[in-house]
């Protein structure tokens, strides 16, 4: 399937032509393609991104062009989404664009249910990362805010599932919670630089769901990375991502792709 066919299919799904102007050429090895997020649910608003997942044989980095995000997953990487929010989200909302061998459809069908109690307990253990702000915020605010947003969004999704009314739209959750600020706080595209105020807003809402955070066993983000290194743990994965993107990406140590 070539780019024009993909774009035509997306136009039939009522994706805005403006967004599709930025749709990139896809590598020839792509075996399947789906849309997820607000464009798949049909509740996109002006400014909403288009989130596309492409199935490939070998791992490759995600791309962003204009408002179009393409994430590449191998079947193995997708299988790590079983039982996660990401998997449940795909299973509920994704719209298949094409699937050469049926592998992508099957991978999405296999995603299974989310254990929300376990997820919230994991989120609580990860939240220790936010308990040494005096030391960490001057240097790592952007990364920590990104992880706080990710954790808050995940906990809100999990809470909705636990309440028997799953929802993967932050705008819808903002309405449900009577908290209009939530939609802006959790928007995937942030118009301005990271602020401590947003960080605090995320944390207070997070505490409302998972309770007080356990104190950090290490006293700083950097110490968490050093002391936890080598034993795979949620808090290490969160800390590593909170370091942000710096230096040469090709030199980075490897971390798993799907977390919660």
């Amino acid at each position: 399937m070539i780019r024009d066919d993909v774009v035509s299919a997306l136009l039939r799904m009522n994706v805005s032509p403006n967004v599709l102007e930025d749709f990139p050429e896809l590598p020839g090895e792509v075996e399947g393609l789906l849309v997820y997020g607000s464009q798949a649910r049909g509740d996109a608003v002006p400014g909403s991104d288009l989130d596309v997942l492409a199935l490939v044989a070998a791992p490759r980095p995600s791309t962003q062009s204009g408002d179009v995000n393409v994430s590449y997953y191998t079947r193995e990487q997708l299988s790590t989404g079983i039982g996660t929010l990401f998997g449940a989200h795909l299973k509920r909302d994704a719209k298949m664009i094409w699937d050469n061998h049926g592998h992508l459809t099957r991978a999405v069908e296999d995603m299974g249910e989310v254990d929300t109690d376990r997820l919230l307990a994991r989120a609580r253990s990860m939240s220790e990362l936010f308990t040494s702000p005096e030391r960490d915020l001057p240097k790592y605010l952007p990364g920590l805010l990104r992880q706080a947003r990710y954790l808050l969004r995940s906990c809100l999704y999990a809470q909705a599932i636990a309440d028997g009314d799953s929802c993967f739209s932050v705008r819808e959750l903002a309405v449900r919670h009577g908290d209009p600020y939530l939609a802006r706080l959790l928007a995937s595209r942030q118009p301005s630089e990271a602020t401590v105020a947003d960080f605090d807003e995320c944390l207070s809402r997070l505490r409302g769901i998972i309770g007080e955070f356990p104190p950090s066993g290490h006293g700083s983000l950097e110490a968490t990375v050093v002391n936890e290194w080598g034993r795979p743990s949620d808090v290490l994965a969160m800390a590593f991502m909170a370091l942000g993107a710096t230096g040469k990406g090709s030199d980075y140590a490897e971390m798993e792709k799907i977390l919660l």
Binding site: H218, G219, A223, N227, F240, A253
Partner: protein, 205 residues
């Protein structure tokens, strides 16, 4: 004194492999060894590997080139910004030098336990070793040269790649299943040890 030279790929904190390989080389008459960089990170004994290599170097038995992991280490210590080094797996090196659980101020703990002689040595490490017929450096050079090129850095699997014009020696040392490789010049034979330092291969290039 042997006229042979040994070129050694990434060590990455594996002291057993380093000692095992040096033992194998000693049995061949102890050729001068040119290490191609990346002594730290991944394996658990970065500090001990550095200590041992510096001793070889002081004794005139080894030349130590800088790899990108040494460059990141030096940059972290010079600028006081650990972020990029940590993203490369610098935690293993910091733990090795600090020797215990680090406190909240990681940079302070690391600097306090990183010997000045190691810092001086890393600062002095050249990037390239060159003779009439070969050029060796950590990262494969972009510019072409008529000389034989010896590099590491880019993983090539368990066995080195030894061609007519170049050799690549990064065989995964620092990981459980990795090996440490030495290319012997001018024969272009190679020797390898496994992660525990036991000899596994002697091949002809």
């Amino acid at each position: 004194m042997s006229a042979e030279i040994a070129f050694v790929g990434d060590v990455h904190g594996n002291l057993s492999a380093l000692r095992g390989l040096c033992h194998v080389l000693a049995a061949r008459g102890g050729p001068h060894a040119v290490f191609l960089g990346d002594y730290v990170n991944k394996g658990a004994q970065s500090a001990e590997v550095m200590q041992e290599l510096l001793a070889y170097s002081r004794a005139g038995r080894a030349t130590l080139l800088a790899g990108n992991h040494e460059a990141a280490l030096l940059d972290a210590l010079d600028t006081g910004d650990l972020t990029a080094f940590l993203k490369m797996g610098g935690a293993m090196t910091i733990r090795s030098y600090v020797g215990a659980k680090v406190g909240p101020d990681v940079l302070r703990d690391f600097r306090a336990r990183f010997p000045s002689e190691h810092l001086d040595a890393v600062r002095r490490m050249p990037e390239t070793y060159e003779s009439d017929d070969l050029v060796a450096q950590h990262i494969p050079p972009a510019a072409s040269t008529p000389k034989f090129r010896i590099t590491a850095h880019v993983p090539v699997g368990k066995l080195p790649r030894i061609g007519r014009h170049s050799a690549q020696l990064e065989t995964g040392c620092g990981a459980e299943s990795g090996r440490l490789t030495a290319l012997l010049w001018p024969s272009r034979d190679y020797v390898q040890v496994d992660a525990r330092g036991a000899i596994v291969t002697r091949g002809v290039g």
